[in-house]
Amino acid sequence: MSFESQPEPGSSTVSTLVPVPAGPVPIIPEPSPRQKVDITIDGQKLVVPEGTTLLEACRRLGIETPTLCFLENLTPVNVCRICVVEVEGSRVLVPACSRKAEPGMVVRTDSERVRLSRRLVLEFLASSVDVSTAPELKNYMQRYQARPERFGPAAPAAPAGGRDAALPGLHILPEGTMASTVAQPVKIDNELYVRDYSKCILCYKCVEACGVDAQNTFAIAVAGRGFDARISTEYAMPLPESACVYCGNCIGVCPTGALMFRSEYEMRRAGTWDEPKQTRTDTICPYCGVGCTLTLHVQDNTIVKATSPLEQDITRGHLCIKGRFGWQFVQNRGNLEAEEKSGLESNRDD
């Protein structure tokens, strides 16, 4: 790869009074004024600034567009294809989340073609993935009348490690009467969170959050190919041996509950998870000076998980291990009371 040519330092019209940096001076391009773009969505005319995506334009008009792999704090990957819309003159449907508005574009968001593709995407996902903890996806299914059972009953789950060992291009004849799924045992290899890839729709969000969009840790990536593609560490090694730093940002962006706090996972298993009963309280993380906003999810006066608001300037929804998981000390009330008591007693002894 090569670099753009740089001017010789000091050779230009720089005033002698200003100290000249030793290295090449990066050229900052003049900001060009954003052009206005005229588009039509579902018959409504609209003017948007250049660079606006069709999704943003739809939202501006109050047109609800379903999204799964899109999140405001991540680079759009447009892989789930649920947000597809019809653009006049385009042979295929286009993803609203990443396609930018172009002058004169005529967009339809609720045509028969759009509805069919959205419905099929939902049926494909719900027939191959456990969507029981993905409320948004279930809402979409209702809206588009998706019937995943059309593909037959679910095939049995893979044994532990089975999907991790799948080889690219190696064909295994399907049992046509059952729908293949990604079902497999849940991965529990650490104290903080679980990975239930039976619920993974491969939206790439966790990979993005672990990579350049947030954490720059690169502990996970997509491995394998086709229906066997999966989120994996190198050689599917357990998380504690991997590069994972337990920031939990992957949990924060997961749309289906495939990645889940261990606390939530265990309460759900015990049948005690009760979201309507939970309160959410914003506070500031007590650890360092950055001042990240924490949202504490509390049930029965106990913190059950911590998140950060997406629109919060400092975090953009992302946290580190301390903010995400380091709140256990708040709950050690029993010990605290005992300590206080013993402290008082020892004081009295003095």
Binding site: R99, R113, L116, F151, P168, G169, L170, L173, E175, G226
Partner: protein, 628 residues
Amino acid sequence: MDLRLTGAEPTSEEKIAVESVLGPPDSGWVGGTRRSELEGHAAFGGQAARAKRHLLLPVLHAIQSRFGWISSGALSYACQRLDVPPAEAFGVASFYGLFSVTPRPPVVVHVCDDIACLASGAKAMCEKLEQTLGSPGSPGPEGRTTWLRSPCLGLCERAPAALLSAAGKRSYEKVLAPASPETITSCLNETESEPGNLLERLEASLAVPQVGQAELRLLRRIGRVNPESLDDYRAEGGYKMLRRALELGPDRVIREVIDSKLVGRGGAAFPAGKKWAAVAAQTARRPHYLVCNADESEPGTFKDRVVMEGDPFALVEAMTIAGFAAGCERGYLYVRGEYPLATERMARAIERTRERGLLGDNILGHRLSFDIEIRRGAGAYICGEETALFNSIEGFRGEPRNKPPFPTEAGLFGKPTVVNNVETLINVLDILGRGGAAYASTGTSGSTGTKLFCLSGHIARPGVYEVPFGTTLRQLIDLCGGVSGSRGLQAILLGGAAGFFVSPQQLDTPLTFEGTRAIGASLGSGVVMLFDDTVDLKEILLRIAAFFRDESCGQCVPCRVGTVRQEELLHRLADGRPMGSLAKETSLLREIGQAMRDASICGLGQTASSAIESAMAGWERFNERKHP
């Protein structure tokens, strides 16, 4: 990047394999000896190492061909040298069919069981191999050998085909075509062959039955020149066209190509001249790249292989002209991993031309600097998709990118890129020879010039044929000697697995872009595969469905799951166990097809149902048909 390397310590052999591509480490930061006077307190290599990520694929090839699989120690060392996170490198290594990330015997024979070979007895051959060698992937005696089923190997004129690859200090590859259970078994038992006879030599007359005919343009040198001799090539008019291009200048060359109305031969039929002009116009954004797509993996396609094996210098010259016209500093030739002989021939041709100053700086005394690098694919049909190919070269998973932006704007390494396939590029020699307007007088107004067709299946003389556009399907089949044997013709597959089935009633269709469009088909990559009435077309359809399931990259939902549901549904029909009525199943199949066509990211998903849907009308007929 602050990488956490988690793999085992590399052995010295593993280090040598990685260093065969990257050279010895130059600092302590990438696994070398730390020199305290130079790097006591400073870190080096970050940006410089990351800029080498495009060497990941060649490094993985080096490891695979040395050990037969990619171990965690070797991968970890490659990651350290290239500053690539191990999880990402694992994602890349586990993407390709020719790589293995689990221990595998060093000698593997890949046996093609794809459609053309299926029509030539591959099924019986594989059944025999299952009996004698065990199930695919099971290790043979002493764990030294194994066999695997493979998608199309591009050797359809000599079906059924197999490709042996032996890893080791002296790795080698061997083409077996036509193959038989006996030749495969004996080949596996050979301990080591002599290098030099390892690659099956191209038998030009077999691959190009028209060899030596005067009216040939694109194929005229094949079989007549020694593909390893630059002098031979020059004696046959080679490098005259580059001289002419240099005289004309880039703008005139592009004008001629636009006048010729040459369109891409890879399947999408985009005007080549327009593409070149779009890249040439981006003068402010440098460098420009030229990518030659030789990842010909469409089942039934083998024309680009024959061109590269038989006339490699023509491709080097054509790439140089394209690079000159579009202002590209560097060319990449991406050859599919299953083409060892084509890769070797192209590598030699590039080396020879470089020695003679026909590549490099100041070519033919002009201010033209251009060079070509070869990249080998590693068993992934999807990498024939242009943007997936860019990702593959750059060292990422071969997943297609969303378009726009188009390659002419942001292609390889994010720079303006011309990407053409082999056949498209070699047409340029003919265009400059005749002049664009004269070239356009051949063929029809909508499809100019000549076209290479790959004839396979039940045809008397299979091979690559060159005919002017507008030739009818019947004329082409007659030219190839008609249906082989004395059987009747059942169906013809046009354009490969991503193409369409046409019936014997449609033989008078002219082979042009517009003519095939008129009957709801396409020329695709130029596949014409004949099936006589002994073939069970259901089996062919199941194989096509399996192909797309196996070759989907898995990135987008419609293709990742749609190809699976499509295959499951066809199995239900083939087994006579439909869920509900046949009409209900066919309408479900159509819906799956439409979602894949409308909502998939790339051409693979968009065409994964086309051949199957085109044949479904006749499904009940296939069911009733009695097997002879």
